[in-house]
């Protein structure tokens, strides 16, 4: 059988019920294409947005979790805004990214989750984003040491990047959030 053929017989029930708990009604999609035509980054996607929604409706989790599209989505919310059936498509992308990370699936766009993790690492540590720390961490992890060197230096010279992190007082509350508060009863 053609590997592009999809069938709801091979659906992931767990994935579909996850979408239900988040009020993401992918079954409401009638493939009008407004999401795809408005997507600013669609030219770079491997699956276009309406394909992502249809694959989700068929429960084709694996195919989606390995895609470039879920990582290239910038969360601009144009798709969800224009969907005539108010499907939370950007929310669907959030669920897919989180699931891919939790399952340890090698991301098709490895630098993008590394950036998010570097950003969140600084927030988890200080309670606020610490730009230089975050950038340094991202550079080391991604191996992209030279990219934007001139830009970074320029920003630093203009005083836009601070050497010392701003820190909040009550870091315990932030640590609780990052140590899995709210996920205690997940399995």
């Amino acid at each position: 059988m053609d590997k592009n053929c999809i069938s709801p017989d091979e659906r992931s029930e767990k994935f579909l019920s996850k979408l239900q708990t988040r009020d993401i009604d992918v079954q409401a999609c009638y493939q009008c294409g407004r999401c795809s035509s408005g997507c600013p980054i669609g030219d770079f996607f491997d699956l276009n947005v309406m394909e992502v929604v249809r694959l989700a409706a068929y429960g084709q989790e694996e195919r989606l979790l390995h895609s470039h599209a879920i990582w290239l989505c910038a969360a601009c919310e144009t798709c969800a805004t224009r969907c005539p059936n108010e499907i939370e498509i950007a929310g669907l992308m959030d669920v897919l990214r989180e699931l891919a990370l939790r399952k340890g699936i090698k991301p098709a766009e490895p630098r993008i989750p590394l950036f998010h993790q570097s950003f969140l690492g600084s927030v988890g540590r200080w309670g606020k984003a610490y730009e230089i720390g975050m950038i340094a961490n991202y550079k080391v992890k991604s191996g992209d040491l030279m990219g934007d060197m001139k830009l970074g230096l320029n920003m630093f010279l203009k005083g836009k990047l601070k050497l010392v992190p701003h820190s909040i007082e009550n870091k315990t509350e932030i640590k609780d959030i990052f140590s899995g508060k709210g996920k205690e009863y997940d399995r």
Binding site: R22, P40, I41, D43, F44, L72, A74, A75, C76, E77, T78, A80, T81, E86, E88, A90, D94, V95, R97, E98, L101, E109, R111, I112, L114, F115, H116, Q117, F119, L120, V123, G127, K128, A129, E131, I135, Y138, S142, D148, K150, L151, N154, M155, K158, G159, K160, L161, K162, H166, I168, E169, N170, E173, I174, I177, F178, G180, K181, G182, K183
Partner: protein
């Protein structure tokens, strides 16, 4: 008038000047800002994109800190605004889901993005009255980007495809907003470090459209858009600024200039692209050349 104020992380770093201009003009407009005590990062796009619980609980902590003051919350950053709105909706709908006592979360406050606030009729009237130097002839492209508008089920934006707040604010200080196509297009700020090639393409399209419409500068109310659109214009701006580049101003930066009648050199130097066009309008030709040196 007294408001709670949530600056957000960008306004302590790459958009430090945004924060300064917000505080400056609020002072002049008799709006007292009370910083939310011990506020934390809202998680921005990175949190909600990869971890739902963290993405909600970070902004929720800020809302709980603001609940005591029970004042409307002014938010200059578009991303912070959207995250705080999302958290507020979730909390009002089901506080127990987020471990919040229902009796504790019944705030009367609203979360307001800066442009919505500044475009209120009474604030516009106050701005008009206090203008010391009109920005006549400054053809400007108002650029909203994404997160103060979308998704309207979260932001409550009344007009997310055709917003007008920035145009109204700019008209109040005498500038000439141009009619153009890319006002609410995404600049891909959340991808700019990991995929600069995509950011360059999107920013290139946006800047080209603004120039085509006759704009000599852009104005925004989002700190990520400001940094991304100035830094990803091609060719990459050098330390000396690029002549062909289009500077991107914060709306509050322009209001501060119009209300004070001056555009300090210190402020000009913070741009990656020469803001000479504003110095010229302000009548300060002598320092316009070294704008972004």
């Amino acid at each position: 008038m007294k408001l709670s104020y949530y600056p957000g992380c960008s306004l302590e770093g790459t958009a430090l000047d945004y924060d300064q201009s917000v505080r400056e003009i609020c002072g002049k407009l008799d709006v007292e800002l009370v910083d939310i005590p011990d506020w934390n990062c809202c998680g921005a796009s990175s949190a909600h994109m990869t971890d739902h619980e963290i993405g909600m609980r970070l902004p929720i902590r800020n809302l709980l800190l603001a609940a005591d003051a029970n004042l409307d919350i002014l938010v200059p950053c578009a991303a912070c605004f959207q995250r705080l709105k999302a958290a507020d909706k979730a909390l009002r709908e089901d506080p127990l889901r987020w471990d919040v006592d229902t009796r504790k979360y019944a705030p009367a406050y609203e979360i307001i993005h800066i442009s919505t606030f500044l475009a209120r009729p009474e604030i516009l009237a106050a701005i008009k009255e206090k203008v010391a130097h009109k920005l006549d002839e400054l053809a400007i492209a108002c650029y909203y980007g994404c997160l103060s508008l979308r998704n309207p089920r979260v932001t409550d934006s009344p007009n997310c495809e055709m917003p007008e707040t920035l145009e109204q604010i700019l008209a109040a200080i005498g500038a000439k907003p141009v009619s153009w196509s890319h006002r609410t297009e995404c600049c891909s700020g959340s991808l700019t470090m990991a995929r600069p090639d995509i950011a360059e393409k999107l920013v290139g399209d946006i800047v080209t459209a603004a120039k085509r419409a006759g704009a000599s500068a852009m104005v925004t109310d989002c700190p990520m858009c400001q940094a991304n659109v100035e830094s990803r214009q091609s060719p990459q701006p050098s330390a000396g600024g690029s002549e062909e580049g289009l500077p991107v101003f914060f709306a509050t930066e322009l209001i501060a200039a119009a209300l004070s009648g001056s555009y300090p050199t210190k402020q000009q130097k913070l741009h990656l692209i020469s803001p000479g066009v504003l110095s010229k309008v302000m009548g300060d030709v002598s320092i316009s050349k070294e704008g972004s040196a």
